[in-house]
Symmetry: D2
């Protein structure tokens, strides 16, 4: 109900700034007796970790997570799980100019307008470093719904879209772009390199799919599964759009094109298509839950942009420091984490109401 907590029954609260001593998440409501250790969480943080290729920010953070509470003798106790990640590679000096003038596209001006002050070092609370806390929380959520497989990938960078016909899940881990289309990955290497060298940045689209979600999760009408996914994804830094299933493309279809015909199956109905993205009326249908998320190009660029200073004078700003040329790439583990958190929450909410 406040500002930094997400979820209904399974809830997590994140805290921390880019350049403070640490950041973290408190995961509350986790079922007891689930095996959990740092080793279950670290791989997801490593996937999101900066500095692993020249296509992401050169900030080097080990992003080592510590579990401070809620686990006893290797098992969750049902009490809050406090996860902490220390910040180690902070260079506050990089941000002296940001203190004086607003970076267009960043939250600088909005924060000042709201709070009357802001922690300008690395974006403070609005830094994408916060997403490390979500990724850690998401790793806990995955353990709650072991039957669900969640897989995300980058489906477009700078308007260059993958060829769905060449989708190969095995490729996702083999290139620095989480790209399932080897040809697209090759093109993106040149594309992102060019933008990086030009001091520019690129937007991206991340697609995420969850399989193994049974029919029945979700709830009308303000706790729809898709409404919660939309809130979760839109709350990620730099996200400007969310689609479920065909999304905006569905708005261009006719009813008979958009229907997902059903046929009898061994275990409930089978669907001949999945325009709906696995959700109807806010409730899962048993099909894969599919979401697409639009990341804008990061506003931290070396190309000068007209702006105003805190004291109201015209200026230009270039954002030095270490930034992602395409923040959407590292968005993949974050989108996956939010998918896991929303699904685990709805699994528990469904169990509360129906006992199943």
């Amino acid at each position: 109900m406040s500002f930094n907590t997400f979820g209904r029954v399974l809830r997590f609260t994140t805290w921390g700034e880019s350049h403070g001593p640490a950041l973290g998440a408190v995961v509350d409501g986790c079922p007891p007796q689930i095996a959990l250790s740092e080793a279950d969480i670290q791989p997801f943080l490593d996937a999101r970790k900066p500095g692993t290729s020249r296509f992401t920010t050169q900030r080097r953070e080990p992003d080592e997570v510590r579990i401070l509470s809620g686990v006893f003798e290797g098992q969750t106790t049902g009490t809050p799980i406090s996860l902490m990640i220390e910040n180690t590679d902070q260079r506050s000096k990089d941000y002296s100019e940001v203190a004086k003038a607003y970076r267009p596209g960043h939250a600088d001006y909005a924060y000042d307008a709201k709070y009357g002050l802001r922690d300008y070092r690395g974006g403070g609370r609005s830094s994408a470093r916060e997403t490390a806390a979500r990724v850690a929380a998401g790793a806990v959520a995955r353990k709650i719904i072991p039957g669900v497989q969640i897989r995300g990938w980058v489906s477009a960078i700078g308007g260059d879209t993958i060829d769905e016909a060449k989708f190969d899940a095995a490729q996702i881990g083999r290139n620095p772009f989480f790209c399932p289309d080897a040809a697209a990955a090759a093109r993106w290497e040149a594309l992102v390199d060019e933008a990086r060298k030009a001091g520019s940045s690129l937007g991206a689209v991340v697609t995420c799919e969850a399989t193994g979600v049974p029919a029945g999760w979700g709830a009308p009408l303000y706790a729809k599964l898709d409404a919660d996914l939309a809130a979760g994804m839109m709350g990620i830094n730099a996200v400007k759009g969310v689609e479920i299933g065909d999304g905006f493309a569905a708005a261009a279809l006719r009813g008979e094109q958009n229907a997902d015909p059903m046929t009898p199956g061994n275990d409930g109905p089978q669907f001949e298509a999945n325009h709906a993205g696995g959700i109807a009326g806010g409730i899962s249908t048993g099909q894969p839950v599919r979401v697409r998320v639009a990341f804008k190009p990061t506003s931290s660029i070396l190309i000068p942009v007209p702006t105003v200073t805190r004291d109201g004078h015209a200026s230009e700003i270039v954002t030095k420091g270490r930034h992602d040329p395409c923040v959407g790439i590292r968005g993949v583990p974050v989108v996956e984490a939010m998918m896991a958190l929303v699904l685990a929450d709805h699994f528990m909410l469904h169990r509360a109401q129906t006992g199943r």
Copy 2:
């Protein structure tokens, strides 16, 4: 936190099914001493009302709202405002077939899978009639933020998009499509007529803009203004996608294209563009808040679709009854209502935290 309530400080809860005796909303947290009567709410319900043209469902509901509590001597008292709308034109006989088989694209199967039963008459709780309750609640929200102007319109039907260069706000009320482009409205007349006669349906995109929103509303990170808008819009029946500002188009831009350059103004910074849709870091910037919402074509069509019956046999279904050939059209007042409700909530939340 439960299922049918929306909002943080200003909260509303809706109830009611398509074919029950009534439906309604309880608006809680409204500031006191606001002049309010049924006459403030009814025009918005009338705008959403079915049966006003051949392009919407022929169900005829007066949709007359009654205020049952929370108003005394013409003013809000600060206590919950109960709004009720009676259902009058129900024809339960239309839905006998729906009881037996699942309509693909509808929530029929998902409800059965979740609850083990469903009110099949007119979609029950998943009926678009529920949106009448939101529209009524939204009218109350507008009174809380009188300085904000909210305007929605249909910007595409069936893939046919308006020409932004011909945008004329005065046109919106002059055609049955809430269309600001007279030429597009003329085209849509033929388009929707054709679909209606073919027993088909069309998707649509609704755009909504709020002006007069000061900088500073919103909150990091899970109560971002855009995250709450995304949840609110995605919770509307038939919605499959939400964009803030440029949305998915931003994912194809470079950083310098997507920046909204700032220049000094008389009353804070001026912006040279609004790619961000008036929100940065989850907080309003003072620019118009702009959202785009994708409505799928309604799944209630007269064209047969393969399906399964409740007892698992293959079948085909056509959905008779009175349906909207393009449910996105009547979505305009609903999108406006959700915009008003989210903004009023964040106005109050901002006031709670900052006193402004």
Copy 3:
């Protein structure tokens, strides 16, 4: 999170004033496929109904409940259940004096200070009539936890306490005081009659016990079963104190006196005492859950009390109209309802987290 909603997973929202057209509750999150009709709710409203003896207010309200949504063919659907009770016996003319001056002990001044206005007719929103909505909601909650038996009684009026040794549950329904001690009931008849004739009023203590609650409901630390019971009970009009188990008496005990010794039983541990009132660490122990609730004497009395008028002048006030000489008596069904609502919510919350 707002102001007129209670509960975590099972939530209800009440609305309505004493002298408006109606009042009601929306119960959200109720499990599906529970048989429910008005006949399940009405007996509890009848138990609370005014005008049944000379010991309660002479206002005569049939308090007939209507289910407006959430039930289909006699079963709950899992969607919100809207319950409405129309007000019929309102006499607004009784309250003219109250409009001008504040009744000490009532919420009159506090409402004016908060909201700048108040519905002075019968106390408006602060009227005990609101408790009818809770009683209706509580009847729904009972159906969710059929294995739990909830029984409340008046254990003291005006400082005259029942003899626990003479506790006879069968007596509770046989006198107008919900009194389990026949001798005390006889004394109270004279006591309350005297107060009523003197234009005064009396406080009371209500005790409520729930049996059949399994060990394990509740949660640390801010959602403790006892913390939620305390909130629920203290939210009832005229309540000024809440105890779990021995309550304040426990504060006068030594550790060895207050311990509830355990011995092996056939179905988990047996307890040799129940000082704890069935709750340890915020979680049920399997013993009866026991709560005591202190009701102050109603402030509506015919004895003049010094006060001030709205415009700040000294005055005296006597509260004419029809009032309960001992509002705690009719508090019994209300306390039972809150017990049922808290327990049903925690049953569901426990199921969400543990699957049991």
Copy 4:
């Protein structure tokens, strides 16, 4: 909505076990631009700190708080404030016996019944050490409402009550009992010493008063100021009862005795008494807000109590280790903290709704 979070607009979430590496609180929603450093928080933790006299547990914890986020250049930023206190003096070996058998009166059995496992070291999550996190959060809350003075004291130990006529606020800090009556403090020294030496424990009553609360804070009906105070206090470890104002004593009064007569004052009405404890209809009246809280004697005693082992056999248990002979004494800073947190939350909630 989940289990370890408290508050509506100002919310805090606590985490941590008695014998984990650390414990903490995340305070979310705090207004920006409030001067805050560890030095503002530490004195309150020191007041609660164990090991300061022979009348409290001999566990020695420095309880040094660190602010990990939400403060920049000495001022709150409006983003979540993460507070962490490391555990240093843990002796896990003390608790081997507790692992095998349930301590009557403790949460041991209830936790096992709920979660199927428990962290038995020092009570785990149900340890009174968690209250350190609340005290830290409460220190932040005090800074939000600088005009409110909050003062708590012990008003009874083991049934021996202070003489209200000898109340002297200056005494509270001069004895190890937070006792405002010097004569009572002298008696308690002998009383607590005797219990400690006997391996027993004593219950206590803590009274807390907040002055400077303006009329108008609070809300009907499920967010009443008194209901939230009741929830907050009852959620403290070992608390079994809560009273507002006269509490249970009011249940023995007549209406004319319980009324708080009003007279005109310079700044709104004056009250001639405060039976109501500063709250009417759930809303503050401008009088001191007064609450009484009953602490049971701690169940950790050296006197053997019959119990059962985890595997169901009869046993006896004595709780060795370092325990408070009267846990209510150190409850004073905790009760004050909860008072501050509830009041600050309602100050902000009131501001949200009314702008005042």
